[in-house]
Subunit: 270 residues, 2 copies
Amino acid sequence: MILINGTAADSIPANDRGLAYGDGVFRTLRAVYGKPLHWTQHYARLAHDCARLALPCPDEAVLRNEVCRAGAAQLNAAIKVIVTRGSGPRGYGPPESPIPLRVVLSSPYQPQAAEEGIQAHLCKLRLSHQAALAGVKHLNRLENVLARAEWQAPEIREGLLLDHDGNAIGGTMSNLFIVEDGALLTPDLSRCGVAGVTRDRVMAIAQMLGLACHVKNCTLQRLCDASEVFFVNSLIGLWPLRRLEQRLWHAGECSRQIQVALASGDAECT
Amino acid sequence: MILINGTAADSIPANDRGLAYGDGVFRTLRAVYGKPLHWTQHYARLAHDCARLALPCPDEAVLRNEVCRAGAAQLNAAIKVIVTRGSGPRGYGPPESPIPLRVVLSSPYQPQAAEEGIQAHLCKLRLSHQAALAGVKHLNRLENVLARAEWQAPEIREGLLLDHDGNAIGGTMSNLFIVEDGALLTPDLSRCGVAGVTRDRVMAIAQMLGLACHVKNCTLQRLCDASEVFFVNSLIGLWPLRRLEQRLWHAGECSRQIQVALASGDAECT
């Protein structure tokens, strides 16, 4: 199901700035029988990202209502919320009073457990540094598309993205954590990458569990030396990394604890 | 007028990858009574950019026909041709056999002479380096949007963009040339920037006029030391730079020669 500005439809104006320039932001989240999980956090991130682009964020209640309606028909739905700067005349200059476009798409979603951990591809594409856009889940996602196009093998579930300096930043569609000496580390996203809601949740869970969680640079070597590595996002939950190139890991205790805490947080929402 | 896959329409599918990821390319060109100027070069660049993204390029004759139809009603039309990877299921992975979407938009266009030269803003936003996308006129244009949003003053007609290393790369919507010791220099676009058709044309004109034209890095200092600086694109032709911050230039002989050659090349097309 697709809602465009609240109305069931399947198309958007051809002169929308989301198409022309990728001038907008989005979130992907899970809904259970129309109830969006962790909605407050998703909306907060959406509003934060809109502010980063000086884009008026749609009203919370309006958007929540649309998300609920879009997901209502399914037990498990993947909901994508897109907010663009709307239609505009020719040229990059943003309209003085933009009328944002809201697109809410839902599709059936089958949670994919990965207890044993997953195999990841080391992407050749290196993420560029752009502090003005770093962390924001904006619609300029060609780097992710090119990185995801690097592998076809179905047994590879995610790709690890490094930046130009060789720091691990995240998966193509997920955030990254490593465990070293019993503490968590997640990459600093001040120059590239996307800050997801599940990353925030893992940091909060770590605090509850009494685990330290550092936000800093993480070289590939450091990642390979880590005792555990895992990817997170709102749909997959937590995927432990079992294999990257020749390096193998066993699913570790820390990943398992956080995986359980994430799942129980999801269950509390439903 | 808007043609979507050849049919007059004003909307595109909401699940198009052009909206979701900016997964596509575009060109902007001028048409006179429906005749696109320098079409062969524009199509060649479009096909080249499609190949860079592993995106099937629509047939030349099909696209030319649509461009002609879209521009037919106007003396001077600005035509924008967008090609996206089309609709697809959820996820960054490109579909195995994408069906590209063609969007051709035309709007009335008033050529804006700028014989006296223009005033430019020195953009604070610095372009990021991404060799995988550099030179390509793709739909991920948030850097241009943010840069263009830096000024409102109508007397400022263009913004000068530097990269992270402090090299001048181009205008927000145009390519850049400087003149030093009677030779042209245009920035190297192998790490960022967009390679426009008019840039190619200026290089060809320089050769005809017996002027050297170098493609290399150009620091801001070097630009400020240049005897002439100008911006080019398919709609504006050539705009001499008259003022950047406190630096003033007079419209120079070299700019004037090339401006005339560009205009006469346009006239030959019509």
